[in-house]
């Protein structure tokens, strides 16, 4: 039996939507499984977060405390990483965090599709973050924002340091997006490969009882992947905060 572990990442039009929705400059636009999952993630998270705090009980139910905890978690994270004036970016970072977190968790459901395992999605998110950082920096400091690329050092070192700072700044969207994408891709590929072991052993006649071993391993890896799903969403959000902090305060905190 030949199971391709990369097959789960294929972007294809969902069933019954084989015709393109519209055509832009000769490129057909389909409603794909990825678009469907993104819509589901956005609607589910927005509905949950609004409905959970709607009754606003004094003694919260489980749902309400989950919504409140995620709010407090992100607010504390922003406050500790960027200080008071970072809090005005709360809506953006909270949305980003919840979207990445829910995409990762929805991707863990067997048979569904992981939105964040597509470099196109994560790179778009990372570009959004870097654009926000650049715009914020120039709005707050004007042309002085360029001092971000000039560390405190003698002039002969600056010849070396300024290009390094520039490269490190402009590779940030790449590292930010590749980190999330590669983590999700590697995790789901690993699950599929071990799933292939179960199928191969289970259909091997007298060796079939041995298939329980990779099966148990999958359960363990699944738990690890749940941790990674949360951790990567957290890392994405905290790195956004750290980049914003640099744009807001330049080198003040160093």
């Amino acid at each position: 039996m030949n199971l391709n572990p990369m097959e789960q990442f294929a972007v294809k039009p969902i069933l019954g939507m084989d015709k393109p929705l519209l055509t832009i400059a000769g490129h057909p636009i389909y409603f794909t499984n990825q678009a469907l999952l993104m819509v589901i993630v956005a609607i589910a998270s927005a509905l949950f977060l609004t409905l959970a705090v709607k009754p606003n009980r004094l003694v919260p139910t489980r749902g309400q405390s989950m919504a409140e905890m995620s709010y407090e978690f992100v607010a504390n994270m922003i406050h500790s990483a960027t200080g008071e004036d970072g809090l005005k970016f709360f809506p953006f970072i909270f949305t980003l965090f919840i979207f990445v977190l829910c995409s990762n968790f929805f991707g863990m459901v067997p048979g569904s599709f992981t939105v964040t395992s597509q470099i196109a999605v994560t790179f778009a998110l990372a570009c959004l973050v870097i654009l926000l950082v650049i715009v914020t920096g120039f709005m707050k400091h004007g042309i002085g924002f360029l001092k971000l690329f000039v560390p405190h050092a003698p002039w002969y070192l600056l010849i070396l340091l300024v290009p390094i700072e520039l490269i490190s700044f402009f590779t940030r969207p790449i590292s930010l997006s590749v980190r999330l994408f590669a983590n999700m891709l590697a995790g789901h590929t690993m699950l599929a490969v071990f799933g292939g072991f179960v199928v191969a052993l289970g259909t091997a006649g007298s060796l079939a009882p041995l298939a329980i071993a990779p099966m148990l391993l999958i359960v363990a890896i699944m738990l690890l992947e749940l941790l990674v799903a949360f951790l990567q969403a957290y890392v994405f959000a905290i790195l956004t905060c750290i980049y914003l902090n640099e744009a807001l305060h330049l080198h003040d905190h160093h």
Partner: protein, 75 residues
């Protein structure tokens, strides 16, 4: 045929990058633990740095994995 074989070998070699990530992640958590056991009071304040170090470290290894996937599927 030789190109296909070379691709497979190249992709395998690219995955050696994960060795460095493994060493790095071990180092991050090991250092955190030894620091946290010496000074448990300061441990809780450093979890952000811990996770950040972990993520930055892991990313470098995953870049190698991405190279491997690029060799296999993009060329």
């Amino acid at each position: 045929m030789e190109v296909a074989a070379a691709k497979m070998i190249g992709a395998g070699l690219a995955c050696i990058a994960l060795v460095g990530a493994g060493i790095g992640i071990g180092n991050v958590f090991g250092s955190y633990l030894s620091g946290a056991l010496r000074n448990p009071g300061a441990a809780a304040t450093q979890t952000t740095n811990l996770l950040l170090g972990f993520a930055l470290c892991e990313a470098t290894g995953l870049f190698g994995l991405v190279i491997a996937l690029l060799i296999l599927f993009a060329f």
